[in-house]
């Protein structure tokens, strides 16, 4: 939990849940696991507020609770980790992915679940159906079964998972780690004290048999107040649908695997050509559910299988496919490796190596944009050759000595390049020591990751600042919009409308436009930096797993 991460988490919590939750959240982040009394005491908030904030945090999976340090009898302690909170930054990307894969229905389902944290299937289906019906043409409504179908598909591909039952409630469900939907009845292994992951429950991906018959309700204008109330509060539905107590959450890991696959595919497309990327896409799709998230490479796939699973639009002949596979294996980037000869050749996708290459390309691109292409040349040279003296750097990179020295020292001061001393004599006399320049990929990646966090926090703060600056203007425009809407609804004449519209002067309108532009730019920049964050985080996690 670095300072930058805590700052960013604070900003995200504040934006999404408000100041009170932010206060409690950041306090927990900074001080580790604490019980309720301590939190109340140290944050100075009232018991009610703290309880509610903790509820919100637990609902969204940001906080977990467990029995206290002193044993089962002591008060429960609440523990927050910043990973989950930093995911909030990535919500737009999740929603967009769901949209591309499962259409509008999928998009809305994921959006609902992200907003609510944990919900049951039935409530989600109903809400989504209602929302879809609203946007549809007059007279058409969305059937619940369609939405349930999409929901089941999402569960089948593991994008959604059940929330693990609370400790102490569902003892019969403990452990037997398997993520495939298995029949309940697997023998219970001894309970371990670590917080159970959702996937350690056999029914993680089992869709409950839910009786959901009905259609979405269209929100009519007269039912404004009622619908709003029911949308905001978790209204107790008189009908039960057979899935009480089964709550679902978004499986972030699965989305991350998907993003990782996408990045690898686009890298292959950039480096080689479209057909090779299609082949890699097929291979990754076939190994989606059979590969564990932390695997170094996918399970070996034979060339025959790949040939059969290629999308029908690509009529590649078998020998051509073999050639492509050979080319992929020979490529220095080593995205694909050969694991055997049976079945026409067994091929794997080297995930960890691909991630390392992508992280390296990220580092190189940062150096290039920040310091220029010659410094990037020196950086790449050091990455390849590991340790070099200053004279050797000048010779290999073919840069005049003075400039090379300057660039090396700049990179050194920014900590992108490190100096290794090798003494010839026991006293480290400078004239008798070798000084070698080197680049360590992993520590540099970590440093850049922290820089990314700081950057995102800066962007958010700037956005808040811009909004605050123009607060008066925004409020005025909102008021006018509200007046316009009410006038239109009550059927006013065009002159009245134009009169109201003219209340905003032209320069103010321009100001509003620039403000909108700025905020959009800052928003999209946040998403772009988040892509870098994702790459670097995946790379660092992959090295953690293998070490």
């Amino acid at each position: 939990m670095t300072a930058q991460e805590v700052r960013l988490c604070g900003l995200l919590l504040q934006e999404h849940f408000g100041e009170v939750v932010e206060k409690v959240g950041t306090h927990l982040l900074k001080s580790g696991a604490q019980n309720l009394r301590t939190i109340i005491h140290e944050t100075g908030l009232s018991v009610d507020l703290v309880k509610k904030s903790l509820c919100v945090l637990v609902q969204h999976g940001a906080t977990t609770f467990s029995s206290g340090r002193k044993g089962p009898g002591s008060p429960t302690e609440y523990h927050t980790s910043c990973d989950r909170i930093l995911r909030i930054l990535r919500y737009p990307r999740y929603i967009y992915t769901a949209k591309t894969l499962y259409g509008d229905t999928g998009e809305l389902i994921i959006e609902e679940l992200l907003q609510r944290g944990h919900t049951t299937m039935s409530s989600t289906v109903k809400t989504v159906a209602d929302r879809l019906t609203q946007n549809m043409a007059e007279g058409r409504t969305m059937d619940y079964t369609e939405v349930s179908l999409t929901f089941s598909k999402l569960v089948e591909t593991h994008f959604l998972q059940r929330c693990p039952p609370l400790p102490g409630v569902g003892n019969k469900d403990s452990s037997a780690p398997s993520e495939t939907p298995a029949t309940p009845g697997t023998p219970a292994a001894p309970v371990n004290t670590a917080p159970p992951t959702p996937e350690s429950f056999p029914e993680c991906y089992k869709v409950p048999s839910v009786t959901l018959i009905g259609r979405g309700k269209r929100q009519l204008a007269s039912e404004d107040g009622e619908e709003q109330r029911s949308a905001k509060r978790a209204k107790m539905d008189p009908e039960t649908h057979g899935d009480e107590g089964i709550y679902w959450q978004v499986n972030f890991e699965r989305f991350h695997l998907h993003f990782r696959d996408q990045t690898i595919i686009s890298a292959v497309a950039n480096k080689l050509d479209q057909t090779s990327s299609e082949i890699v896409r097929t291979m990754l799709r076939m190994s989606e559910v059979t590969t564990s998230p932390m695997a170094t490479c996918t399970k070996p796939l034979s060339a025959n299988e790949i040939f059969r699973s290629l999308p029908p639009s690509y009529n590649i002949l078998r020998p051509i496919l073999d050639q492509y596979l050979t080319l992929l294996v020979d490529d220095p980037m080593e995205f694909v490796g050969k694991a055997g000869e049976s079945g026409g050749g067994m091929f794997v996708v080297n995930l960890h190596r691909a991630l390392a290459n992508l992280a390296r390309a990220t580092l190189e691109s940062v150096v290039q944009e920040r310091f220029g292409s010659r410094s990037a040349r020196i950086f790449r040279l050091l990455l390849r050759k590991r340790h070099l003296e200053q004279k050797q750097v000048e010779d290999f990179a073919m840069i005049p000595a003075k400039e090379a020295k300057d660039m090396l020292y700049t990179l050194l001061s920014q900590n992108l390049v490190q100096l290794q001393e090798i003494p010839k004599t026991p006293d480290y006399a400078p004239s008798r020591t070798f000084y070698l320049y080197t680049v360590n990929q992993l520590p540099t990646a970590r440093m850049l990751l922290q820089n990314c966090y700081k950057t995102v926090a800066n962007l958010i703060e700037r956005r808040l600042f811009e909004t605050k600056e123009s607060k008066r203007l925004l409020e005025k425009s909102q008021r006018i919009e509200a007046i316009l809407a009410s006038l239109q609804a009550s059927g006013a004449e065009p002159e009245q409308l134009t009169e109201v519209e003219e209340m905003i002067t032209a320069p103010e309108k321009q100001q509003l436009d620039t403000l909108r532009l700025h905020i959009n730019k800052l928003d999209s920049a946040e998403n772009q930096v988040d892509e870098t964050i994702f790459l670097l985080e995946s790379y660092i996690n992959s090295t953690n797993a293998s070490s």
Binding site: A267, L327, L358, A397, M398, A457, L459, V529
Partner: protein, 354 residues
């Protein structure tokens, strides 16, 4: 033991310094001049079965002419068996000091060789110290030798060395060449010799200056060549294996292309081109593979050939650098509430208004 100047070609030359010769393998003693005179007097008093010293010298010179590769002491002894070792030594010494004979050492022992008259004429008028320094410099060949090394080898004091060097330079016998490695260092070599590559820096240096523009131009030309080759291969729409293989270019092909372009005033060797191609690899624009090639195919070195191919980057510039913070020079000083903060950042304002 006096220092000996080593020459790597052929038998090694031993210097006769002033009046002393150092010899290890041979039993020829090094008599001093005074002793020689004494000896001569003694000899004169002795039985004149022995030849006149001048006669001896002439004989030795004739022998040298007979054997241009050099004669050992043994040969002289065989020729004039009645000659005593001291007389022999004296004669040889005299010839050496006159600069008419060269003393060399090879694995068998000491060799005496007739020096060409041309070089002897050059050194007329110079005394022995200068001759010594001249010989040291000559031995250094085209790599040149530093003044401190001359001092070590000749054991002369620094002031003497400097005087002699100035003298020789004014006589246009030697020249000073600035070394590219250490710009303050000057190496001396014979006047008419071409300095070696390691001193001048080779093709990339002209007059001690690194030619960056030249390197840049070569860089771009090579890259364009490889890129066009790769594109031609991609457009040819053949099977992927053929496509990839045709997008490769051997270092020999690139070298030929550059030579034909004629943008270089100096002749570039294949090694030079390979260093340029390596910089392209470090730029991330080109990748290299090595394949085994039969000896004798054009361009193969030690049974291998290096193939180069233009490539594209695997990712677009990363998201972090699309924001002003990614490129900000004062990134570390920026925090909310400080003088440099996100709210007041001028880079951000510029970027937002772009």
């Amino acid at each position: 033991m006096l220092p000996v100047a080593w020459d790597t070609e052929g038998p090694q030359r031993v210097l006769a310094v002033s009046h002393n010769i150092s010899s290890q393998a041979n039993k020829v003693r090094a008599p001093r001049r005074q002793e020689t005179l004494e000896m001569a007097e003694v000899k004169v008093k002795k039985e004149t079965n022995l030849s006149d010293p001048a006669e001896v010298e002439n004989r030795i010179k004739e022998l040298c002419q007979q054997f241009p590769h050099g004669i050992t002491d043994q040969v002289i002894q065989n020729d004039m068996p009645h000659l005593e070792p001291q007389q022999r030594a004296m004669a040889i010494n005299k010839l050496l000091s006159l600069g008419q004979l060269d003393l060399l050492r090879n694995s068998a022992g000491l060799l005496y060789r007739l020096k060409d008259s041309q070089s002897t004429s050059k050194m007329k008028g110079s005394d022995n110290q200068e001759k010594l320094v001249y010989q040291i410099i000559e031995d250094a060949g085209n790599k040149g030798i530093w003044s401190r090394d001359i001092r070590f080898k000749s054991n002369l004091p620094l002031t003497e060395i400097n005087k002699i060097l100035k003298n020789l330079e004014s006589k246009k016998l030697i020249k000073a060449v600035k070394s590219v490695a250490a710009s303050k260092k000057k190496v001396y070599m014979l006047y008419n010799l071409q300095p070696d590559r390691s001193v001048t820096g080779g093709a990339w240096y002209s007059d001690q200056d690194f030619e960056s523009e030249f390197v840049e131009v070569l860089n771009q030309q090579c890259f364009k060549f490889l890129q066009s080759k790769a594109e031609a291969a991609r457009d040819s729409k053949q099977s992927p294996m053929v496509q990839r293989n045709s997008s490769f270019a051997t270092s020999h092909e690139v070298w030929k292309y550059i030579c034909e372009l004629g943008i270089s005033k100096v002749d570039l060797s294949m090694d030079d081109i390979e260093t340029i191609l390596n910089t392209l690899i470090y730029d991330g624009k080109v990748e290299m593979t090595v394949i085994a090639a039969k000896e004798g195919t054009v361009g193969s070195v030690d049974g291998q050939m290096k193939l180069y191919r233009g490539v594209n980057a695997i990712i677009q510039p990363t998201g972090l650098v699309k924001t002003p913070c990614g490129l900000c020079p004062v990134f570390d000083d920026c925090h909310e509430g400080g003088e440099i903060s996100p709210s007041t950042c001028i880079y951000m304002s510029e970027w937002l208004d772009f």
